[in-house]
Point group: C2
Chain length 397, copies 2
């Protein structure tokens, strides 16, 4: 039985803050602070260059990849850390396309995170070979999978609405049509049970600064199904993906399996923080996280709909059909969110009109949900959002 009061004690949450934005940036795990301090002083400071061997820096991408793999149904040796999610999308998509050389269509949907679409557009421009990015609405994906599709590239949980794709069903349909799949797990990893192996996913990528609490700009991960891993050509063929990086050959020879998806020198500060952050998952049952997440989301929806009629639900009502976040829509969403933040309820805003709230059982409970609704109710009932300063948009929304 997962003890959520224990997991809550592992995070630093400022006094007076109800943090409903862990779907964007998870809060600081106390262990990460300690781990990074130790890295700075004892490892970088004390070991200097020897840290690569003696502190195990060089093997962190694989070792931590295995830890992430456990949370997403990936076997040992199939996940590696590094770079950013956008770079990992590019790698996965470039390799995936070469597995289906006779087809030109990349199928995605308008609920995919824009950077995934942009990376596809950039890759298509480089390939110069007639590839096409076909973007349909999320509910049209299933019927759009046909024998022209080379790669089905989707984010499992929609960043705006929380809508959840059926990874297993869509992967099966893609395979039946002769396509391969690239799944973005940005809003899935740490939010709900993911079973990459069970779903037969070909490639998957994700970030670790959301539900995995790795810190701002924490390293991304990539998964390649074992039956593909030794066959794919890495488009971003960096030295740490080489079979023998320290022989300094002039010609690239890909490393075995997932190693070839490594590129450059790994970001050790970020990896150390993430490594410690992952400790929070020891003894945590993801099915219990999922059950509690749905309970918190359902409670939030019910209370907001009862008390704030001006807000329209922007997420699926059925808990089984969404991730761990809830969006409500309002044309003054931006200002409403600023008013909430000023009162200590931190969520975020996604253009054009969504206010987004993430519910993360590791550190958020029912009391937080009810208190957040009290404050939201007060703001809506008394139009506390209707002040000019809350309409001034910041660089990052």
């Amino acid at each position: 039985m997962t003890d959520f009061s224990r997991t809550r004690s592992l995070f630093y949450l400022p006094e007076g803050v109800i943090y409903l934005d862990g779907n964007s940036l998870g809060p600081l795990p106390l262990a990460a602070r300690e781990r990074v301090a130790r890295l700075m002083t004892d490892e970088w400071g004390g070991l200097l260059i020897k840290g690569w061997n003696k502190a195990g820096w060089m093997t962190m991408p694989r070792r931590i990849g295995d830890r992430v793999g456990k949370l997403i149904g990936a076997a040992e040796g199939t996940v590696v850390m590094g770079d950013t999610l956008s770079i990992k999308v590019y790698q996965a998509l470039a390799s995936a396309l070469e597995l289906v050389p006779d087809r030109k269509i990349i199928l995605s949907d308008s609920g995919n995170f824009p950077s995934d679409l942009y990376m596809a557009q950039g890759l298509i421009g480089s390939l110069g070979n007639g590839h096409e990015l076909r973007i349909v609405e999320p509910e049209e994906v299933e019927t759009a999978i046909d024998a022209t599709v080379a790669v089905l590239m989707l984010t499992e949980v929609d960043y705006r609405t929380g809508r959840l794709h059926d990874m297993k069903a869509l992967t099966g349909k893609a395979h039946a049509a002769g396509a391969v799949t690239v799944w973005d797990l940005a809003h899935s990893a740490g939010a709900l049970p993911v079973d990459l192996a069970g779903a037969g996913a070909d490639f998957a990528v994700g970030c670790t600064y959301k539900y995995l609490n790795g810190g701002p700009g924490a390293p991304a991960f990539i998964y390649v199904a074992p039956h593909h891993a030794d066959n794919v050509r890495p488009a971003l063929s960096g030295w740490l993906g080489h079979q023998a990086p320290f022989t300094f050959d002039l010609g690239y020879r890909p490393g075995g399996g997932i190693d070839r998806m490594r590129v450059g020198t790994p970001p050790i500060l970020g990896l150390a923080a993430l490594d410690a952050a992952l400790d929070a998952w020891e003894g945590v049952d993801m099915t219990e996280v999922r059950r509690q997440s749905i309970r918190l989301c359902d409670l939030f929806v019910a209370e907001v709909e009862k008390r704030c009629p001006a807000l329209r639900l922007g997420s699926p009502r059925d808990g089984g059909k969404r991730g761990s976040q809830i969006s409500f829509l309002h044309e003054e969403g931006y200002a409403i969110m600023q008013a909430l933040i000023a009162r200590g309820v931190i969520g975020d805003f996604r253009a054009p009109d969504a206010i987004r709230f993430g519910f993360t059982p590791l550190y958020i409970g029912e009391r937080d949900v009810l208190k957040a609704v009290d404050i939201l109710d007060d703001i809506m009932a008394n139009r506390l959002w209707d002040v000019p300063e809350y309409r001034q948009r910041a660089l990052v929304t």
Copy 2:
């Protein structure tokens, strides 16, 4: 007048260690430790998601890029931080090739860092358009530049020997032949004066964990000459290179100038450490760093040649023709370096036979050089390297 005793006091150097490997990983700046601790507690911990605006995280890649730019002769707004050096090589090369669409040759040399060559090979594989990587010997580069060359891609300072290319002359020759240039400054930035604008360089890239002391896996940088910056197509077109990332458009529109070379969410822990590390350069005159570096290198060469005849110089003898490192060659180089490290003299080994020593005036002085030679002399004269344990190769050499 640069005060090198002041700069030395800014770094943590363990008792009993003579650190001659700052050309691989710079030592810990005390300010970086403080800065990262503050980032963890006050910013990530205290500000949570608000750190992106309130702590200026989102603008760090440009702000720190300008700080690096000052050290490499780049105007404000022409350098941006992010990713790893290998990724930045790919970006620069992909954009450079599209500026010369009618030519297929990428000219490089065998002294380039292998990852740069590997990234070129990976890009060529994706382009599938008949491009060719032509690798010549370093001394043949000048004569190999002809009207078939699309891009001249070189590392200014050879990672093995320290040999220094003449960036201005080779760039001029490349331009005269109708080619564009990509310069890797991994062993130049912070080691010697670099004048990208004066040399007319088109693209430049580099890492920051060597002479810039940004920490293990610190973020890389990319420079694009102002007259190219608004014209190049970013192959790695991530959301933070978009003109307006937070409008979440489905189509990519490149940001203005150097911004389009941003890709994904920036690695804030690494950027914070680097930002603090760059403080060490305030009040430092790079021409004095260069003069002192040559003095230290010359002293090392003279003393080693006098006392250790079994070691053969693997670097240019003329200080003006090398970077800030010295290599000596010996077939038992690996074991010799292990023996040195066991005695507190930290350099490194590069296959097949080079022992490498970096000389970094910010924290290394004449006394360190002489003491290091004493220990090397003892090891060579008494064959202290000749024990089995020093021959066992570690993962990272």
